[in-house]
């Protein structure tokens, strides 16, 4: 049997993610484990490197949401295979090196979630752990999840003007429960703007998903420096 070199295998993994090919990514991840290649190295140089390229292609308009979703699935499947070859200690180490953790939701009353879905994917490809609670999520449920998993960021999306008040409601609940300062709260969505974010005392607002990722990185960095 031909044993491919470490470099070739990692490049194959990278390409399969960029080509949004979940089956190929999963298969090559298995080959990487069999060949005794360090899975942590494969994640870093194969998957993370591909994720960066996928993000860039999305930003320049070469990729759209479906490609982003498919690449995300390829990354997840390959990561699951590779993770099985990593020790518990090493896994914890990798987790601690994540860019951050985000609880994300489209707020109560709002069923429009494409923007939120795009952000969830872009956060994931940029190394964030994302708890995506879905659409039309009750404000208290968002707060409960945040107090349970203690994310760096709570991200709240609203497309409709009549659902924007639910973003304020989440912040009000965090204040009332005395936990507001434990989280960075970011808001976004079609009908929102910077003035609204300031009015409800959110920590950040971004117009596009790409800007939201950069903002999340900046806000976490700032928080960690404090």
């Amino acid at each position: 049997m031909l044993v491919l070199s470490e470099k070739v295998l990692i490049e194959k993994l990278r390409q399969s993610v960029i080509e949004c090919d979940e089956e190929a990514a999963k298969k090559v991840a298995g080959e990487i484990l069999k060949a005794g290649v360090d899975p942590v190295k494969a994640i870093k140089e194969g998957i993370s490197s591909a994720a960066k390229i996928v993000g860039e292609k999305f930003e320049t308009g070469e990729f759209f949401l479906p490609q982003l979703l498919l690449a995300g699935e390829a990354m997840e499947s390959a990561s699951n295979v590779l993770m099985s070859g990593i020790s518990e200690k090493k896994r914890e180490e990798l987790e601690s090196k994540r860019a951050g953790t985000v609880v994300l939701a489209t707020v109560s009353g709002d069923i429009h979630d494409i923007g939120k879905n795009i952000l969830a994917l872009l956060l994931a490809v940029n190394g964030f752990k994302v708890y995506d609670l879905g659409r039309d999520v009750d404000s208290m449920k968002i707060v409960e999840k945040a107090t349970e998993v203690k994310p760096d960021i709570i991200g709240l999306s609203a497309l409709m003007t009549t659902t924007m008040p639910a973003q304020r409601e989440v912040i009000d609940l965090l204040n009332a429960m005395g936990v507001r300062n434990e989280f960075i709260v970011m808001v976004g969505g079609g009908s929102t703007n910077r003035e609204w974010a300031e009015e409800i005392e959110a920590d950040g607002w971004a117009e596009t998903a790409e800007e939201a990722v950069r903002l999340a990185q900046r806000l976490i960095e700032k928080k960690r420096r404090q």
Partner: protein, 461 residues
């Protein structure tokens, strides 16, 4: 004579309960996106940035065939039951063959026809004027009156209230019901004040939920049987109980039902080709599931919420040509500009949208401005620009190839500024709200841009 819709409502509702089970994620990627890719590839449908308004009828027919094939296989996902509502071709053909090519909307002296239009049709477009944005409570009546008094307005949609008696309106709350009823009452009052008490009113934008919509149905003070109400869709090709509740209520109440669909360029549809095909398929869903007499169609850029870029204008043209040649559907093309009121750019964008839509077979719904993000930012002047051109296109019998040359002369005036467009001014900065007239300097700007556009061959009323 009005026939269909409604088309076998109980059958549709039954299928929402009994159709094939499908998880949403599978529907988006494995069902919709994968079939979409194959129908586009099979017919070699391609966006050409140099031909914004194609004159090729076979492209329009290919988009229609692709949309029909897509919809027959994919159907509509009901998120409340996780089931797909599917139809066979004979059912779609039956509903289409019985459906109305024109409806009479509004009442009394203000009643008017809303019709299916053909490509290069000499029939003037139905023009619905709408700010498509929230406004301060105290501005609701003056802003509504400003739109209602526009001579070219065949129908009007009011701005959206985000507070009532100073309290912020929240979807699903009792305040939403209160705000929606107030919206309906004040809008009717505004229509009477401008002397058009029977004009077609499209409402109630303040009501997001089914309960709030139902609360505003009242022939004395609220939404009448001669008005229009929307059943929207969830991107892409999805509905839920709340939307179906509205559909059932509107039909049993007896008002006109419209479908509202904004396929997202860059979202699950992918690029321009996919968005055109899904946009066309949405019109089939409009008849079969939303059970609508007409559609409001607003394909939109997934990042920047405009539809005046080259790709979006192309797909608007192609969708409307497909519908004009192959269906009896009545549809209004809803513009979304990047720039805001009182800027030359917003007027260029409105011109391009009105021109492309009308020559391709659309009626007009004009126009959301400033990326539809900023409260109080819209005026009837932008809608007027699009609709004056729509009338001009029909009256002068402009052909697609000529319209294509003209829009290619308009686009360079704004297309490189789309992602950093100026948000312009608010309604109060553009209009004298006591006299409800546009300020002189905005009229001057309007006339200057109009002359500039006429000089490059844009036809006006």
């Amino acid at each position: 004579m009005r026939l269909v819709p409604p088309w076998r409502i109980n059958e549709v509702l039954k299928r929402a309960e009994t159709g094939p089970i499908c998880l949403e994620r599978d529907f988006d990627l494995k069902v919709l996106y994968s079939k979409l890719q194959s129908v586009i590839k099979e017919r070699d449908i391609k966006f050409d940035p140099e031909v914004i308004i194609p004159s090729d009828n076979s492209l329009a027919d290919d988009v229609w065939k692709a949309a029909l094939e897509l919809y027959l296989e994919v159907g509509t996902l009901c998120l409340s039951t996780h089931r797909r509502i599917l139809f066979d071709e004979s059912e779609i053909k039956e509903a289409m063959s019985l459906s109305s090519r024109e409806i009479v909307v509004g009442s009394g002296k203000d009643a008017t026809r809303m019709c299916h239009r053909e490509i290069e049709d000499s029939k003037r477009p139905f023009c619905l004027f709408s700010p498509d944005i929230t406004c301060d409570e105290e501005l609701f009546i003056p802003m509504s009156m400003a739109y209602l008094q526009e001579p070219l307005a065949d129908g009007v949609c009011a701005p959206i209230l985000d507070t009532i008696e100073g309290i912020r309106i929240k979807a699903g709350s009792p305040i939403e019901i209160k705000g929606s009823i107030a919206h309906a009452m004040m809008f009717r009052e505004a229509a009477r004040r401008v002397g058009r008490p029977g004009i077609f009113l499209q409402s109630v934008g303040t009501a997001e939920t089914d309960a709030a919509q139902i609360a505003a149905s009242n022939s004395t003070w609220g939404e009448r049987l001669t008005d229009g109400r929307f059943v929207a869709s969830i991107a892409e090709l999805k509905v839920d109980y709340s939307l179906l509740n509205k559909m059932v209520h509107f039909h049993q109440y007896g008002c006109f039902v419209g479908a509202l669909h904004g396929p997202m360029y860059g979202g699950y549809c992918g690029g321009a080709e996919g968005t055109a095909v899904v946009g066309t398929a949405y019109h089939i869903q409009a008849l079969m599931v939303n059970q609508a007499y007409y559609s409001n169609y607003f394909p939109i850029h997934f990042k920047y919420s405009f539809n005046t870029s080259r790709e979006l204008l192309w797909l608007i043209s192609v969708t409307y040509q497909a519908l004009a040649r192959n269906t009896p559907f009545i549809s209004l093309s809803n513009g979304f500009t990047a720039a805001g009121s009182f800027t030359p750019m917003v007027l260029y964008e409105a011109a391009a949208h009105g021109l492309v839509s009308t020559v391709s077979g659309a009626n007009l719904w004009e126009i959301a401005v400033a990326r539809n993000k900023y409260k109080n930012r819209a005026t009837p002047m932008e809608a007027r620009m699009a609709c004056e051109i729509g009338h001009g296109i029909a009256k002068k019998g402009i052909k697609r190839s000529e319209a294509n040359d003209i829009v290619k002369r308009i686009l360079p005036k704004y297309e490189n500024k789309l992602t950093e467009a100026p948000i312009g001014k608010t309604f109060s900065e553009c209009y004298d709200i006591k006299t409800i007239t546009p300020r002189e300097d905005y009229v001057e700007l309007y006339n200057k841009v109009k002359k500039e556009l006429m000089d490059i061959g844009v036809p006006f009323l």
